[in-house]
């Protein structure tokens, strides 16, 4: 049976104190054995440096502008002395992240169906609103990339990297064994990234003279700031509710 709380006492075998006798024995044996090679953890970093120097083109490139208009814009930006592909790369990153964000909130809503919420926790209405915001941000970025003459369907290197960085977020939400409170931990990671990344994108847009875009991005950031506040609040309320709950009295999921 699924549980609403996650921190009850039970059999967890991972710690050293689980096996007082065996642990004493294996600690002694580990100390007695001499390593087969001298040195320390630095060796791993040395090899990493060697491979980094040979890594060629890194993760990949930003695709060339997909329209004549885009090429013209790119040329103008280049004349102004800036590298427009940096902006395209970052737009692509934000686009991918916002799109994934929609799937995250779909997942959170499905947890709400199973577990219900808690005092100070998320409501269906608010989760849906945030989901719509993420979708709206995704749409805004499609439009922005098209305006720049870039292909909004391309996976840019930054989009790829941010997916690598946040791989665990969708996994935490789609795992059948995590409850809604645990999912808000994952949403927090996403919203923190959302906020910092929009800030950076706005600075970049202003620096390149894309002021109209920057103004619209500011509206997105305003929404993200609210998302973050909400998620932090839900999480805090959820954790303290759990901390106050009597031992072993975990409510089972709503039918």
């Amino acid at each position: 049976m699924s549980k609403d709380t996650v921190a009850d006492v039970g059999m967890n075998r991972t710690g050293i104190k689980t096996s007082p006798i065996d642990s004493k024995d294996i600690i002694q044996e580990a100390q007695r054995a001499i390593p087969s090679s001298p040195g320390d953890g630095q060796g791993i970093l040395e090899v990493r440096k060697q491979y980094a120097r040979e890594s060629g083109d890194g993760l990949g490139h930003v695709p060339p502008p997909s329209s004549l208009k885009g090429m013209a814009k790119t040329a103008v930006d280049m004349l102004k002395g800036s590298k427009p592909t940096v902006f395209i790369d970052k737009l692509g990153e934000r686009l991918a992240f916002e799109r994934t964000g929609v799937r995250l909130y779909e997942g959170a809503l499905s947890k709400l169906d199973v577990y219900g919420s808690w005092e100070g926790g998320p409501s269906r209405e608010l989760l849906t609103k945030i989901l719509d915001d993420e979708l709206g941000h995704f749409a805004l970025l499609i439009e922005s990339m098209e305006k720049m003459g870039a292909d909004p369907t391309a996976m840019t290197p930054s989009a790829d990297l941010s997916a690598v960085i946040s791989q665990g977020v969708p996994a935490a939400i789609s795992d059948a064994r995590t409850n809604l409170r645990q999912c808000t931990e994952a949403l927090l990671v996403a919203e923190l990234t959302d906020n910092a990344s929009w800030e950076l994108l706005i600075d970049l847009a202003r620096g390149l003279g894309h002021d109209t875009l920057a103004d619209r991005f500011q509206l997105a950031l305003d929404a993200e700031a609210e998302h973050l506040l909400l998620v932090k609040g839900w999480l805090a309320a959820g954790v303290s509710t759990e901390a106050r709950a009597p031992m072993e009295s975990a409510p089972t999921p709503a039918p």
């Binding site: 799937r103 996976m155 305003d222």
Partner: protein, 399 residues
């Protein structure tokens, strides 16, 4: 440049040397490299895995061959390592999965087109429509689980749409066993084809069985379980095309020839220079294996390898899109079923395969659930939703 299998001796086994640094190289780029580079790496990893698998099986069954098998097998293992480690770490298991299915579609299509035996060609077309469907199901999963566009990997080479629905691919085991070619009369190309596709399907199966449990989402876990079962059927199907009356050494000889043929095909199409260097090196290594086994064949079986092997290699396997061919087969053969080794247009209601299928699907069908109402479009199905919604941000929405 038809490669002469008897003239070209390749690299002798004792000079097939590796280091860890050499085996672990710069991977291809998920973003920049051609989708077919990914499929070639996936294919050759599968071929090498099969080289190991076959040699281990033979070693269990034959004392005399054991030392020879151990020697060549070690080289195969290190080849497999170098090839498989070309996959980049930012490519997730699901993204690699899309590569597996794309390979299965395009390689099987090429084989089906070039296969001289009509029954074997029919078998390849039959299986191809199923892997074609898998690409669609996994695409829906990729889109719906993580909000990502499968075409970032597929690169517009292959169609993303239903084939023979996975839910009806589940067959009674006896309806997956096919009639083999006859090793005395079959065209050597037919033998190379059967070895290649069996190896590739086997690796697909093993890959799904390895990565399936890493997924968190229950439908993803179910879908890998379901499609892995079809890949097991595919291994049963394609594996049964090979003649069981070939001797072990004859099978071994053919397998090495298939390895040469596949590396040679990869070499003919490769666009990434770093990867191409690997294909070139391994064409030579495989020629070395082939000649090693030719010697054994002469000594132990007192037979002439020319009885079994073609003098020169056939036209390379085509690493290109086959959409027109696939669509034609789809429109003509999607409803085809199998009854034992035979292909039929329909099965009676009480057929063993229907009973088997109904049982497996009786608690729901993951492949139907994952792709319910799914139509791929550029930028994921959320792009359609976003378009309907419009990108106008009416100020602050949250109160």
């Amino acid at each position: 440049m038809a490669l002469d299998l008897f003239q070209e001796k390749g690299t002798p086994l004792e000079r097939q040397l590796f280091t860890w640094k050499d085996m672990v190289r710069r991977p291809y780029s998920k973003l920049d490299d051609d989708a077919f580079t990914r499929t070639r790496v996936i294919l050759m990893n599968g071929i090498e895995a099969d080289a190991l698998r076959m040699k281990h099986l033979f070693a269990r069954l034959n004392r005399e061959l054991r030392p020879h098998l151990a020697l060549v097998r070690r080289a195969e293992h290190h080849q497999q390592t170098m090839v498989n480690w070309l996959n980049p770490p930012d490519q997730t298991p699901l993204e690699t999965t899309l590569g597996f299915e794309q390979l299965a579609i395009e390689a099987t299509a090429s084989v089906a087109i070039h296969e001289p035996d009509p029954y074997l060609a029919q078998t390849y077309r039959f299986g191809m429509l199923e892997d074609f469907d898998h690409l669609y199901r996994y695409s829906a999963l990729y889109d719906r689980l993580e909000g990502k566009d499968p075409n970032n990997l597929i690169q517009s080479y292959s169609d993303i749409r239903p084939g023979r629905p996975t839910s009806v691919e589940h067959r009674h085991p006896l309806d997956d066993v096919r009639t083999s070619y006859d090793h005395k009369t079959a065209d050597p190309l037919s033998k190379l084809h059967a070895i290649t596709i069996t190896a590739s399907e086997f690796q697909t199966h093993d890959y799904y069985m390895t990565v399936g449990p890493f997924f968190a989402d229950p439908v993803a876990r179910q879908l890998y379980a379901e499609i892995a079962s079809i890949e097991e059927q595919h291994v049963t199907q394609y594996g049964s095309l090979c003649d069981p009356d070939e001797s072990m050494l004859e099978k071994w000889l053919l397998h090495e020839a298939a390895e040469v043929y596949n590396y040679y095909s990869c070499l003919a199409y490769e666009t990434n220079p770093h990867v191409k260097a690997v294909w070139q090196r391994f064409v030579d290594y495989e020629l070395g294996h082939l000649h090693y086994v030719m010697e054994l064949f002469k000594q132990m079986e007192r037979r002439d390898p020319a009885e079994v092997l073609p003098r020169t290699l056939p036209e390379p396997l085509a690493f290109k899109e086959h959409r027109e061919f696939v669509r034609k087969v789809l429109s003509q053969e999607v409803d085809m079923r199998s009854n034992g080794p035979d292909y039929v247009s329909r099965l009676p209601e009480d057929h063993r395969t229907r009973v088997y299928q109904a049982q497996l699907n009786s608690e729901g069908s993951p492949s139907e659930t994952v792709a319910a109402g799914y139509q791929w479009r550029p930028g994921t199905e959320l792009a359609a939703k976003a378009e309907r919604m419009g990108s106008v941000l009416e100020g602050r929405r949250l109160q």
